[in-house]
C-alpha cells in the first residue's frame, strides 16, 4: 500500500541553522502517528516540511506517491493536507464565520459553503453562538475548536496537529483529543505533534521520537514511551 505521506532523507534549515538531519518517516492512510521529542528537537520543523511551509534543503517529500518536494504551500493544502499550526491557527482579525468561509470557500459553490458551515456549527454549537465574534477574542479552547471544526467539515486526507494541547486546561485537552478521535474515525490520517506524551500515545498507532533534529525512535506507539523523557 502506498504511504499517504512519505519523507525520505529530509534535511531542513532556517538560514544558517540546520533543524533536521536526514529524517525519514512514512504514514499509512488512516493511521495516527505521534511525533514526540523535547523542545528544539525539530518536531515543528518536521510538521512544517510535511505541510509545505518549509521546503526541505535536501531529500524528498511524497504525498500519496506524488513528489511534492519543490511545491508551494498552497499546493500541499489543495491535495488535502491541513496543518493546524502551533499557537494560533485561525485568523484573529476575522470573525468566526469568516474563518470558516475562508477555510471552506475554495472550490465550493455558495450553497455548498453554507452547508459545510452548517455541519461545523452543528458539531460545535458554541461556535454557532459566536459566529459573528472576532476570532481573536475567543478563548484558547474555542480557538482550537474553530480550527478543528473546519477539519471536521472538510475532512482533509491528512491533518497535522501541532501542540494542540498547549496552554489548555486538562479537561479541555481531553475534549480536543475526543475531537481528534472523531476526525480519525471519519477517515482522516493524523500526524500529532505533542509535548505531553500521555495523550498522544493513547490515540496513536505509531510514533516517531526526534532528538536534536534526528529520528531516535520510529515504530509502534507502545515502544515510544521508553524513549521520551516522561
Amino acid at each position: 500500500m502506498t504511504p499517504l505521506l512519505e519523507l525520505i532523507n529530509v534535511d531542513a534549515r532556517y538560514g544558517p541553522f540546520r533543524a533536521l538531519f536526514d529524517v525519514s518517516l512514512s504514514i499509512q492512510p488512516g493511521a495516527v502517528m505521534a511525533l514526540l521529542g523535547p523542545n528544539g528537537s525539530g518536531k515543528t520543523t518536521l510538521a512544517r516540511v510535511a505541510s509545505g511551509l518549509v521546503r526541505p534543503s535536501a531529500g524528498t517529500v511524497r504525498f500519496d506517491g506524488t513528489d511534492f518536494s519543490g511545491s508551494e504551500t498552497y499546493e500541499f493544502a489543495r491535495t488535502g493536507i491541513f496543518h493546524a499550526v502551533e499557537g494560533r491557527s485561525i485568523f484573529a482579525t476575522l470573525s468566526v464565520d469568516e474563518n470558516l468561509e475562508l477555510a471552506l470557500g475554495r472550490g465550493r459553490s455558495r450553497t455548498e459553503v453554507s452547508e459545510a458551515k452548517d455541519v461545523a456549527y452543528a458539531l460545535f454549537p458554541r461556535l454557532a453562538e459566536r459566529r459573528n465574534q472576532i476570532a481573536g477574542t475567543l478563548s484558547g479552547g474555542e480557538q482550537r475548536m474553530l480550527s478543528l471544526a473546519r477539519v471536521l467539515a472538510e475532512q482533509p486526507r491528512l491533518l497535522i496537529a501541532d501542540e494542540l494541547s498547549l496552554g489548555l486546561a486538562p479537561i479541555i485537552v481531553d475534549s480536543v483529543y475526543e475531537t481528534l478521535a472523531h476526525i480519525r474515525d471519519a477517515g482522516t490520517t493524523l500526524l500529532i505533534v505533542e509535548q505531553h506524551v500521555g495523550h498522544a500515545l493513547a490515540i496513536a498507532d505509531e510514533a516517531v521520537v526526534l532528538a536534536k533534529g534526528s529520528v531516535k525512535y520510529a515504530g509502534a506507539a507502545e515502544g515510544a514511551a521508553a524513549y521520551s523523557t516522561i
Binding site: 518549509v54 498552497y74 493544502a77 482579525t93 477555510a103 481573536g136
Partner: protein, 677 residues
C-alpha cells in the same frame, strides 16, 4: 439658503477628491497592512502619464486613460508589491511607513526625470467638456469635472464595500494581510492575492491621479501631497478599516472646509489662516480624540517564525571592535578634514563644513527620536524652525544675546515637543507619526504667517552671536578673516550634543527606551513609566532640533521658512534613516550626505569621474532630483537594515574580516596540531 446650498455643493466636489484618496488609503491599509503615504505620489504618476499623452501628445481620452490608469497604475502597484512590500510582511508597521516615506520622496523625482512638471498647466480631464457648468438650482453651480469626481468616488466606495462584504476575494485579501502563510495553508495562493490587492489600490490611486488635476488645472505633485492630509484625516476617522466612513469623512471634510471659508469673517488673520490648515486641525483632533486608535492594529503573524526573524527597529547591538575601529577612523578623517579646511581649502569648503556640522546637530535630534525611542517624527524640521524663528524674534525684538535666545527658543521647542508627545501618547506607531505630520503642516501653513513667529509679510533676520570678547560676526567680503570662529562654535555645540546623546544612551533614559522598544507591556511590568520616557525623548529631540535650527539661522542671518518646511523634514528623516539613525556618527554622515550630495557630488564629482573614466564623455551636471531618488530608495532598505545602510555594511565587512582572521587562526592551529602529531 442659496449660500448654504452652493457651499454644500462646492464642498461636496472638493470632498469627492478627499473621499477618493481616503478610500484608497483605507483600501491599501486593509489589503497590504501598509499606511501608504506614497499614495499621492503614485497618483501623480498616472496624472503625469495622462497629461503627457492626452494634453501634450493629443491622444484621445480613452486610450490615454486606459494606458495611464488601467495599465500603468496597476503595474506600478504590482512592481511595488513584488520588489518591496512582499518582503516586508513581518516588519513592524513603523518600518513599513518609513519605506512608504522613501517612495514618497523618490517617486515624484523619478517621474520628473521624464516629465516636465513646470509647464503642466491647463489640464484637460477624462470627461469631455469637463468645464461645462450645470446649474441644478439658482445660485448653485457645478462643473462636469466636479460631478465626475463625486460620482467616481461614490462608485469606488460602493464597489469596494461590496468587494469586502460579499466576495471571497475581499476576505482573502484581509486574510493575507494577517498571515500569508496561514492563508496558503487554506489552499489559497497568497502571492497572487497580495499582488492583486496592490494592483487594485494602485488603480484607485491612478484614478484619483487623473481626476484631481481638474480641480487645480495643473499636474503638480504638491497638490497631490497636500490633498493627502485631508484624506489621511478621513481615513483615520475610519480607523483605517471602514470604506463607507472614509468616503463620508472625505465628503464631510470638503463641506466643512467650504462652510468655514464662507461663514467665517474675512479680513481676520485667524480666519484666513484657518481655512488652508483645516485638514491638519481636523487630523490632529481626530488623532487626539478617537479612542480606538490607542492600540496598534498589527497582530503578530503566528507563522512569522518560518521566515528569518525581522530586524528589531533600530536596536543597539554593536560590537566593541567596530566602535573602536570607527572611532579611530573618524578621528583620522576628522583631523585631516579640519586641517584641510583651515589651511588648504577655500571658503566654499569652510561654508560647507559649517553647514554639515549644523545639520549634524539637527540630525542628532532624529537619532534621539528614531534611533533611541524607535518613533518616527515628521516634525523635526518644524522644531528646528521654531528654534530659528523664536531665537530671531527674541534676539532682534528683546535684544537678548543670540546664544541665550537660541537656548530659550529650543526650550520652547522642547515644551511643544513634550506636549505633542503627551497628547499623542496613546497613539502609538504610525498614528503618533501622523500627529507630528499634522502638527508640522499646521505650523507651516498657519503659525509661520503670524508676525510673532515668521514675521508675517516682513522678512525675518537672525544675528551672529557675540560671547564676551569673541565676536562670531560674518567676515566682511574681501577681508582676510575667515568664518573660523563660527566653525569652532558649531563644532563645540555638536561635540556637547554628541556626548550628551551617548551618555543618555548608556544611562537610564537610553536603557528605558531600549526596553520600551523591545516590549512595552514588559517594560511596564518592571516599573518603567512609558509616558515619561517618551515625553523625555520627544522633548530632548525637539530641543536639539531647535538648537540646530537656531544655529543655522544665526549662521545664515537671512533665512526663510523654506529652510524649515515640513517636506524638508520628511527628507531629513529619509536621509538619516538611510545613512545611520542610531549613532551620532550616523547623523554626521547624513549631514555630510545632505550638504555634499546636492552641492558637490551631483554637480561636480560624478561628472568629473564620468568624464575621466570615459574618454569621449562630456557631461556637465546630474539632475538634483537624483538626491531624492537616491536617498528615497535608500530609506526603502530601512525595514531590512534599521541601523542604516552604512552601519550594516560596516558590521558586515567587520564580520568578514573577523571571519578571515578566525579562519587563519584555525588553519594555523590545525597546522600546529598536525605538526605535533
Amino acid at each position: 439658503m442659496e449660500k448654504f446650498l452652493s457651499a454644500l455643493i462646492e464642498g461636496m466636489s472638493f470632498g469627492g477628491v478627499y473621499a477618493l484618496v481616503a478610500v484608497g488609503l483605507v483600501l491599501a491599509y486593509k489589503t497590504s497592512g501598509v499606511f501608504n503615504i506614497a499614495f499621492g505620489a503614485q497618483a501623480f504618476v498616472s496624472g503625469a502619464i495622462y497629461y503627457q499623452l492626452h494634453n501634450r501628445s493629443e491622444w484621445p481620452i480613452i486610450p490615454a486613460f486606459l494606458l495611464a490608469v488601467v495599465v500603468a497604475a496597476p503595474l506600478v502597484g504590482a512592481a511595488l508589491d513584488r520588489m518591496l512590500f512582499r518582503h516586508l510582511r513581518t516588519a513592524p508597521p513603523l518600518s513599513r511607513l518609513v519605506v512608504a516615506l522613501g517612495l514618497l520622496v523618490a517617486i515624484p523625482e523619478v517621474v520628473g526625470l521624464f516629465f516636465k512638471v513646470t509647464q503642466a498647466t491647463q489640464y484637460k480631464g477624462i470627461v469631455p467638456g469637463g468645464e461645462i457648468v450645470y446649474r441644478p438650482l439658482s445660485g448653485v453651480a457645478i462643473t462636469r469635472d466636479d460631478l465626475s469626481i463625486i460620482l467616481s468616488a461614490a462608485l469606488v466606495a460602493i464597489g469596494l464595500t461590496i468587494l469586502f462584504r460579499y466576495t471571497s476575494l475581499g476576505l482573502r485579501m484581509r486574510a493575507v494581510v494577517e498571515s500569508p502563510r496561514l492563508t496558503e495553508l487554506n489552499g489559497i495562493r497568497s502571492d497572487i492575492v497580495g499582488t492583486t490587492a496592490w494592483m487594485l489600490s494602485s488603480f484607485v490611486a491612478g484614478l484619483a491621479g487623473v481626476l484631481l488635476p481638474t480641480v487645480f488645472q495643473q499636474v503638480s505633485v504638491i497638490n497631490y501631497t497636500t490633498l493627502l492630509t485631508a484624506a489621511i484625516a478621513a481615513a483615520v476617522l475610519a480607523s483605517l478599516t471602514s470604506i463607507p466612513i472614509a468616503f463620508a469623512g472625505g465628503i464631510g471634510l470638503g463641506i466643512l472646509q467650504q462652510f468655514v471659508s464662507r461663514y467665517l469673517p474675512t479680513g481676520n488673520v485667524f480666519a484666513s489662516n484657518v481655512k488652508p490648515s483645516l485638514p491638519f486641525i481636523v487630523l490632529f483632533v481626530v488623532l487626539l480624540f478617537k479612542r480606538s486608535l490607542s492600540y496598534e492594529q498589527g497582530l503578530k503573524d503566528p507563522l512569522a517564525g518560518v521566515d528569518p526573524p525581522p530586524p528589531v527597529p533600530a536596536s543597539a547591538v554593536r560590537s566593541r571592535e567596530l566602535t573602536i575601529g570607527t572611532r579611530i577612523f573618524g578621528f583620522v578623517v576628522g583631523t585631516w578634514w579640519f586641517y584641510s579646511v583651515l589651511f588648504l581649502w577655500n571658503d566654499i569648503w569652510l561654508d560647507r563644513t559649517i553647514r554639515i556640522l549644523i545639520y549634524a546637530i539637527i540630525f542628532c535630534s532624529i537619532v534621539v527620536i528614531t534611533g533611541m525611542a524607535g518613533q518616527i517624527s515628521f516634525a523635526q524640521a518644524t522644531f528646528a524652525g521654531m528654534g530659528a524663528f523664536f531665537s530671531a524674534q527674541i534676539a532682534t525684538k528683546q535684544g537678548v544675546s543670540v546664544i541665550a535666545a537660541i537656548f530659550i527658543a529650543s526650550a520652547v521647542a522642547a515644551v511643544v515637543g513634550a506636549l505633542i508627545g503627551l497628547i499623542a501618547l496613546r497613539r502609538r506607531g504610525i498614528f503618533l507619526a501622523l500627529a507630528t505630520y499634522a502638527f508640522a503642516l499646521f505650523f507651516d501653513n498657519t503659525m509661520v504667517r503670524y508676525d510673532w513667529v515668521g514675521g508675517g509679510i516682513f522678512a525675518i533676520e537672525s544675528q551672529r552671536p557675540v560671547v564676551g570678547p569673541v565676536d562670531f560676526a560674518r567676515p566682511v567680503p574681501g577681508s582676510t578673516t575667515r568664518d573660523t570662529a563660527f566653525l569652532v562654535l558649531v563644532l563645540v555645540v555638536l561635540t556637547l550634543v554628541g556626548i550628551a546623546i551617548i551618555w543618555m544612551r548608556n544611562g537610564t533614559t537610553g536603557r528605558f527606551l531600549d526596553a520600551l522598544r523591545g516590549s512595552e507591556t514588559a517594560a511596564a511590568s518592571i516599573g518603567i513609566n512609558a509616558t515619561k520616557a517618551r515625553i523625555i525623548a520627544f522633548a530632548v529631540s525637539a530641543f536639539i532640533a531647535g538648537l540646530g535650527g537656531g544655529l543655522l539661522a544665526s549662521y545664515k542671518i537671512q533665512f526663510s521658512s523654506l529652510d524649515y518646511k515640513a517636506e524638508l523634514g520628511l527628507f531629513w528623516v529619509v536621509i538619516v534613516v538611510t545613512l545611520g539613525p542610531r549613532t551620532v556618527e550616523g547623523a554626521i554622515q547624513a549631514a555630510a550626505g545632505f550638504v555634499l550630495f546636492q552641492e558637490w557630488v551631483l554637480p561636480t564629482a560624478i561628472p568629473w569621474l564620468y568624464n575621466h573614466a570615459l574618454p569621449f564623455a562630456d557631461i556637465t551636471a546630474i539632475s538634483i532630483g537624483w538626491q531624492q531618488i537616491f536617498f528615497g530608495l535608500g530609506a526603502v532598505t530601512y525595514a531590512k537594515h534599521p541601523e542604516g545602510i552604512l552601519e550594516s555594511n560596516k558590521t558586515a565587512s567587520l564580520t568578514r574580516v573577523q571571519g578571515l582572521i578566525d579562519r587563519f587562526k584555525s588553519r594555523r592551529d590545525s597546522e600546529i596540531e598536525t605538526a605535533s602529531v
